[in-house]
Symmetry: C3
Subunit: 274 residues, 3 copies
């Protein structure tokens, strides 16, 4: 099931339109290519409708939002909705400023999202309509652990019901759910939080996976989350063995994604259903 | 002849003003430095004339164009023309949206370009005034091969005559021509299309090579194209030997450029005249 | 003393708000994480006050300034001043255009800076109110050497008195001074000028070091400068041993920062008081 998702990406080479932040955009583009999709970044309001029309999915990331690009996000999202394309939201820093919280909420009102991926603080902000986030990282008070896992799974399913989107909460433990079914994923490594952009890159990968598997958004998203985590584990092993640091880790996580195949993925996944 | 071009870059350290996209800008800056030039990125309309005035070449890349930066591109291009500096155009995604096609055409009308470099779909769009491009990659129907090579060589020469610019069409096979003479270049490796920015980086390198060799634009451009392809070949060999992936490939292609010299280049070039 | 500065960064994980350029922003974010701080990039005028309010320091870098972001820089800087947070200025390219020179001067008028870090040409421009800079690199006529070092130390102290900020002039030799005391630092390697962003990354590291050591800005800044230079030396040794190039150097400089500790730092520092 999961391996098939990845094979579809490599077969269809989905084109992913990303309106994203300028901090991690290069990593997102390289990761998109590494995972078998092809990225196109375009944010001028006069071209986003045309660009999204030649694509298989749209990724909206509010990491360095501004007035000009917010308008483009909404325009592109509505066009993608008309075309029936999956739209993925990464509400970076929702809860850290009123502008980010309001923009995330407005996007959810104006655009129908196929998937929303964020850390626990960002996703709670979306649920509650307000929040506090330590910058772009999750608040440690919110962290998932084995003690509150069942509760978070129920929360994720309820939020999926409320929004109509697959919800992916990522952190030390990941939960990916629609209103009926949840996957709990334990791939990944703490070093992923010592480089910028692992969240943004993952959201871009989700875009490619959903673009190639539009009829199976939940499993596509869970596969992407697990695959990214697995690449993080493999990258850490290599960095550790070679006594390297975080920039090498960044290189290797993309390297492993570019060499991933269905067999390696299925062997490495740490995923269960709830 | 070719080695001399490279030596001039290392001797003169030309300063290259780039108005470029935010996806690959960091790679372009590092590649500019690696090839012996020095980059400066500046896109505010209130400074582009002054900035270009201290430079040896101007590179205009429309990869993430917007209304604000389009105006700056034209202003900078016209100033560079007044100063007699070579201006290089990378019409990223021309054909993928009306905005990109129209902007490329307007730039060609308002600014005299020394070199235009793109993939075959982008260059055909410029010739025809309209086109269809699969995002920022060439349409596979357009691909160069040994069967249509003569025809493309003739097309390239005619377009050079029409525009007054050296035309560089890059892909599996590269054609670089002015109205009289063409170079066909077979350096490069398919992995170059699995990372973002090889096209943008090449255009920046062309900027440096033309900035240091303003009286020999055709040979400077062909040398840059061949040199970039050679770095791709060397990078692939290393990635393959070490069982690495696409992000390591990106690192090595810049590494090899930073260590290139005239002898290595002339030994590795796969270039012929048509 | 110096080791304690670094330990505070690792203990407090200061959050650094950066309004910076899109060329090196990814490197700045990764370097911020590597040195133990956490970055957040936000430049919309409607959120900068809120964002800076959750941070420990603000870094302002004018490398790709435009009208929109200049207004955000001033707004964020004034808010940080109200909150008593250290604000660090990187006047990239001051002297290369009137816009850059004027913006640097206006920022110095409107915002009280804790630290200003630039190359010698940029810092002289700030002192004189005008200047000539070869793009974003220092003019070679201005270079520090053992012959003019005493004179530059005196100049640095005077400029600190005039501006109220710690002044860090970086190049082959670095001088960091407040009005009473100067550190002369001889860490670093010439290869640092063959990649983009070493200056920007250093300024971001200074932000983290000052954010975690707000009562010791002079020593925090000198420690950051020395630490960055030491990482450059270590990265060069590795690149040289492995016959690699400038992109590997970029990777390793961040790697070494991510593995730095107080003992390694104190052993490697080449610093003296003047």
């Amino acid at each position: 099931m999961f391996g098939k998702i990845l094979e579809n990406v490599n077969k269809k080479h989905p084109l992913v339109h990303a309106i994203t932040n300028y901090v991690t955009v290069n990593d997102c583009a390289n990761m998109a290519l590494a995972c078998g999709s092809a990225p196109i970044m375009a944010d001028d309001i006069n071209e986003v409708e045309e660009i999204v029309s030649i694509c298989n999915a749209l990724v909206i990331n509010i990491g360095t939002l501004n007035e000009r690009t917010i308008a483009s996000m909404i325009r592109a999202g509505q066009k993608a909705n008309q075309l029936g394309l999956p739209v993925i939201l990464d509400p970076v820093g929702a809860g850290a400023s009123k502008l980010r919280t309001d923009t995330a909420l407005e996007l959810l009102e104006q655009v129908k999202f196929a998937v929303v991926r964020g850390n626990i603080s960002e996703i709670k902000t979306i649920d509650q309509g307000s929040g506090t986030t330590k910058g772009v990282d999750a608040d440690s008070n919110d962290a998932l652990n084995d003690g509150n896992l069942d509760q978070i799974v129920q929360f994720t399913k309820r939020l999926s019901e409320k929004t109509g989107a697959v919800i992916a909460i990522t952190g030390a433990i990941d939960v990916v759910a629609d209103q009926k079914k949840a996957f709990v994923i334990k791939n990944g490594h703490p070093m992923m939080s010592r480089i910028t952009g692992t969240g943004c890159m993952l959201t871009t990968v989700i875009g490619g996976y959903c673009g190639a598997n539009p009829d199976d958004l939940l499993v596509a998203t869970a596969t992407a989350v697990s695959c990214m985590g697995l690449c993080g584990e493999l990258a850490f092993e290599k960095v550790w063995a070679q006594k390297e640091g975080t920039a090498s880790f960044r290189t290797y996580i993309i390297d492993f994604m570019s060499n991933m195949n269905a067999e390696m993925l299925e062997r490495g996944m740490k995923i269960e259903t709830r």
